[in-house]
């Protein structure tokens, strides 16, 4: 079967692509000389690893948001995580807290993302479990408020502060500190595994919440756990790397077209494929020009046409497969 073959293709090619990324860098293509350029190798490895972790987190998160919200346009930032994290980062930069250690900025961004999530959840639940539309609506509202606060901060910041905030918002994968990388790696692995374990719930939820109920799923628990895990994955990604767009929207669609919609295959494929995709985009971003290009530009430039190609081939509006 095509889907199964593609699944093993993705699983097999992802490590290859990652290895390839290690060979790429602005100082030249090829394996760095281990004697004299050992530190360059370490640098590339850490960056490829960061790309892989963030890509995996965003892709898995996107898969889950699209499945649970049953909406092809859903993406990891839909509940306002990105604006919350952006506000956290801006506050950290403005107060100078970000300068204290390399961990401070990711931590602030992550914490604010979690606070935003709690706020969105609190606003949409009136003493009971919130409805999906309630969640999305309050996500949009909280996100808008956070964005305006962020705008305000940017408008009063000094030129340098503004520069810092904008730089963070463009997103980059440059060498997160070891504890940040290690911890986020562990959390992302745990989150993706958790979502993989929920595959059958996710499968059933895409048939609609009533049908999932009839198939023997604890619908509310499943939805909330899935959204929580997915949002935390997104929060980690934003905390570590800033706002990297497009991966969480496009990789799920690409993977669904390649390996099918069964989450048992889709989640691992999205994690590995998405990770490799972002690492590869980042490798291109730091190699093709003397000055680094924001990685989001490459993800959009590579992912967009690929997505359109799949869309054209399948002719199904919105969802492809």
């Amino acid at each position: 079967m095509n889907n199964r073959r593609n699944f093993w293709l993705v699983i097999g090619l992802a490590p290859l692509l990652l290895a390839f990324c290690v060979l790429m860098g602005p100082s030249g293509i090829g394996l760095p000389d281990l004697q004299t350029q050992y530190d360059i190798l370490i640098l590339r490895l850490s960056r490829v690893l960061a790309g892989f972790i963030i890509g995996a987190a965003l892709s898995c998160s996107g898969v889950v948001f699209q499945a649970v919200l049953r909406n092809p346009l859903a993406e990891p930032y839909v509940l306002g995580v990105s604006s919350g994290a952006g506000l956290g980062a801006a506050l950290a930069i403005l107060t100078g807290f970000a300068g204290i250690s390399t961990t401070a900025l990711p931590l602030c961004a992550f914490l604010m993302a979690v606070v935003t999530l709690a706020l969105v959840y609190g606003l949409s639940s009136h003493g009971s479990t919130p409805s999906l539309y309630g969640l999305i609506l309050s996500g949009v509202i909280v996100s808008a408020v956070c964005s305006s606060l962020l705008m305000f901060i940017v408008s009063v910041a000094s030129l340098e502060g503004m520069h810092n905030i904008l730089w963070w918002m463009l997103g980059n994968l440059d060498m997160p500190s070891d504890p940040v990388l290690g911890l986020s790696g562990l959390l992302v692995a745990a989150g993706c595994t958790g979502l993989w374990i929920m595959s059958r719930e996710l499968n059933a939820l895409t048939l609609g919440h009533q049908m999932a109920h009839h198939l023997g799923i604890r619908v509310k628990v499943a939805i909330l756990t899935a959204l929580l895990l997915a949002t935390l994955l997104a929060a980690i990604a934003v905390g570590v790397a800033g706002l990297i767009g497009f991966v969480g929207l496009i990789v799920p669609h690409i993977m669904r077209a390649l390996v099918g919609s069964d989450h048992r295959r889709l989640i691992p494929a999205a994690a590995l494929g998405g990770g490799a995709f972002l690492a590869a985009c980042d490798a291109l971003a730091r190699t093709i020009m003397p000055v680094e290009i924001p990685v989001g530009v490459i993800t959009a430039l590579l992912g967009g046409p690929f997505f359109l190609f799949l869309l054209k081939r399948h002719r199904t509006p919105g969802w492809i497969g």
Binding site: M1, A67, R70, N71, P72, I197, R200, N203, A204, T206, L207, G208, Q210, M211, H213, H214, L215, G216, I217, R218, R256, G260, S261, D262, R264, T316, G318, W319, I320, G321
Partner: protein, 417 residues
């Protein structure tokens, strides 16, 4: 016989407006039952309650002796399954993947489908004749194929009860029968209890041995198709005339909606004056307006529900000030309107001393030789001290006025052009 579904005094619905009101129901295992009723009767709410989607605000729902809300989800899925009217699958799952989802609760979280799971899926695919299209995405299929695939999913689930929620209403005649025969076979061979909601009374009558007719959240009739589908019962519940024929050869029942309204425009050029009040004339005004009659009404009090409807429909109305007894001026105005009318209708309006003078209009119409129609049951609407309204109706009847039960049988009585 074991009881498959037991509802005891179930009240359920929206927060403030219960749809089911103290409904009790008992269904034996192995029955095949059609649930009938007009829109809003509570059929879907009944299904939501039975499948555990909706928790009743009062009463208990038991499936095979255990309460649905206490059942672990996996056990619930093994007990009851639902075939929806339509399943919107946004993601391109293949038919086989969909059918395998019927095994969701049977397959462990950490295990993959066993040989037995595959066997059940295979059997369901064959049973519903979707083996050829097993690798096609569900959302590319025709309505009939799609519905068959969903039935296959429900089969793979192996429930003891199947709820069919208007499962065939989007299908053409051929596919409708095919699905129904499939379900009938399940019921006959495997003893699966089947409940189906259908607006197609004929299909319901043909495939179920017991029909339950719901209206306003309560059971109105319960029994064999022949016992439930009587002209009288249906007329009461659906508010329209039907003809029920039992085929002398097959015993099958056919139901025809009797011509209920004169053709649109049949009242063109005819003028009817309606005496209503308090909203009781609303239905008459609306229906007659659909038939193309020119309408007037009065005397009504300003702000009265009927007055609003009349003005919305463009009917001329003689009006009195709110909460006042009818004055001479208002009556004269109504008299002017009534004088041009070809017929007069008295809606089931309650009478007190204030609006009793409206009877004068009817008197004068009879004198002029015009037909007059009076809603039956004046005894229950007469709030005058000396039962004056009852007396006046009796006089009118002796002078040639006609009684009618409700709008449905009023319309055929009216003059047409």
């Amino acid at each position: 016989m074991t009881t498959a579904i037991h509802l005891h005094e179930v009240t359920a619905g929206y927060r403030d407006t219960p749809v089911l009101k103290g409904l009790s129901l008992e269904i034996e295992a192995g029955e095949m039952i059609g649930i009938l009723g007009p829109n809003g009767a509570g059929k879907s709410t009944l299904f939501s309650v039975v499948s555990g989607l909706l928790k009743p605000s009062a009463g208990t729902v038991k499936l095979y002796g255990s309460e649905i809300h206490r059942m672990p989800p996996a056990e619930r899925a093994r007990t009851i399954a639902v075939v929806p009217q339509e399943l919107d699958v946004p993601v391109p799952y293949t038919v086989e993947e969909i059918v395998m989802m019927g095994r969701t609760s049977a397959i462990g979280r950490f295990s993959s489908p066993t040989a037995e799971d595959r066997l059940r899926v295979e059997r369901a695919l064959v049973y519903t004749d979707v083996t050829d299209i097993r690798h096609r995405p569900l959302n590319e299929l025709s309505g009939g194929e799609r519905q068959r695939a969903i039935v296959a999913m429900v089969l793979a689930q192996e429930p003891r009860i199947i709820l069919m929620d208007e499962a065939t209403s989007h299908l053409d005649l051929n596919h409708r029968l095919e699905i129904m025969q499939l379900v009938e076979r399940l019921n006959r061979d495997d003893g699966v209890t089947v409940l189906m909601i259908s607006h197609d009374l004929q299909i319901a009558a043909e495939f179920s041995r017991r029909l339950i007719l719901l209206d306003h959240g309560q059971v109105v009739a319960d029994g064999t198709p022949a016992a439930v589908l009587t002209e009288d019962t249906l007329r009461r519940v659906y508010h329209c005339n039907v003809r029920v024929h039992q085929d002398p050869h097959s015993g099958g029942i056919s139901i025809l909606a009797a011509p209920r309204l004169p053709a649109p425009g049949s009242g063109k050029g005819l003028h009817i004056h309606i005496i209503g009040g308090g909203g009781c004339g609303e239905a008459i005004l609306r229906r007659l307006s659909l038939c193309g009659y020119t309408l007037t009404s009065g005397v009504l009090n300003l702000g009265d529900k009927d007055a609003e409807v009349a003005s919305a429909l463009g009917a001329g109305t003689a009006l009195e000030k709110p909460f006042c007894p009818i004055s001479r001026e208002a009556l004269d105005e109504a008299r002017k309107l009534a004088r041009n009318a070809h017929a007069l209708i008295m809606a089931p309006v309650p009478f007190g001393s204030g609006n009793l003078t409206n009877f004068d209009l009817l008197d004068e119409a009879l004198t002029a030789g015009k037909p007059v129609f009076i809603a039956a049951g004046i005894e229950n609407r007469d709030y005058t001290r000396n039962r004056d309204a009852v007396a006046r109706v009796q006089v009118l009847l002796t002078r040639g006025a006609a009684l009618y039960q409700d709008v449905t049988d009023l319309i055929p009585l009216l003059p047409t052009c």
